[in-house]
Amino acid sequence: MMGHLILRVTIKILFAPILLYALYVQFHGDYGPGGGFQAGVILASAFILHALGFGLKRCQRVIPPSWLPVGMALGVLIYAGVGLYTMLLGANFLDYDIIQPDSHHHAGQHIGIIAVELGVGLAVAATMLQIFYAFAGREPEPSDDAW
């Protein structure tokens, strides 16, 4: 049980920076490379890394498997909801300019992009973790010398 000491210490050190980096990629997508999709994958990979090092059970205690389908659906609904919101305001589907019509620097576009990227990030992170849970939860975890 106490094997992989170096791996576990490394994972513990890296876990928080990976989460922080995912948030950076998520909210900095307007200015640098990245966006919701990459951020979602990075966020999921942090939890997958933890699950690989410390076992699936401990990861599932933080993020129960029942949350993930909700997160997947919620992400898509946030995205589509922004589109419906712009329609309700009287513009086309996903026409963000209507959110802040009087802005001189296209604030509506910025708000809209941040919102849909949030939806993408949530949907992707939940889906990646869901797929990992589905694979890893099937079999009892392989013993350390199984490889």
Binding site: V25, G35, Q38, S45, A80, F93, V116, T127, Y133, P142
Partner: protein, 201 residues
């Protein structure tokens, strides 16, 4: 006109040749290896090398995705898949391997043939750069005002497409949940909540 996009022998070219050589070596090693754990590791390395190559092509967003998905998540998923099946690939007789080899050879040759018609890298007159690409580059500072063009195209100009992609990701997760999720395996065990908790604190 010819001299505009002619690349001299530079550091970038050396890096590109090195990465492409490593990609080919990696691919051949993956084909020849029978131990699936090694193949999974090599596919992760292959993805990381591809990500490096995309960076030299100035496609940082694609490189980012390739590194995160290809080298990160896919490798973990392949390893999880190997944990469920055999650790080694069975040898296939030469006669059975003949047809796949012919198909792979024909497809690969036609792909290489197709690259002959492709415009040069960075050609400003290529269809992708001349019309729509130029229109996006010119319009984004006035329409959207975000510095990253890729985000502007993905989330705003092509927001509808990206919604479709998000639905595709959602569908993939849903399919995995239905096919191999815990409720699909253990006779309708819900979402794993009824599993015995061995290490309850």
């Amino acid at each position: 006109m010819e001299t505009i996009y002619q690349t001299s022998v530079s550091a970038v070219l050396i890096v590109e040749v090195a990465i492409l050589t490593l990609l080919v070596v990696c691919a051949i090693a993956m084909v020849r290896m029978r131990q699936l754990f090694g193949v999974a590791m090599l596919s992760g390395i292959y993805s990381l090398l591809s990500a490096g190559f995309f960076v030299t092509l100035d496609a940082v967003d694609v490189a980012f995705t390739e590194a995160a998905v290809g080298a990160g998540i896919s490798t973990v998923l392949i390893l999880s898949g190997i944990a469920m099946t055999a650790k080694r690939e069975k040898a296939v007789s030469r006669r059975r391997a003949l047809l796949p080899r012919v198909i792979t050879g024909v497809v690969g040759a036609s792909l290489i043939y197709a690259t002959i018609d492709m415009p040069h890298y960075g050609d400003p007159n290529s269809p992708a750069n001349a019309y729509l690409g130029r229109a996006y580059i010119e319009a984004t500072p006035n329409d959207i005002e975000v510095p990253n063009l890729v985000t502007a195209v993905l989330a705003s100009y092509r927001g509808y497409d990206t919604l479709g992609e998000t639905v595709v990701v959602f569908t993939a997760g849903l399919a995995c949940l239905l096919l191999i999720g815990s409720s699909a395996v253990r006779g309708g065990g819900g979402d794993g909540r009824d599993q015995p908790e061995e290490d309850e604190a």
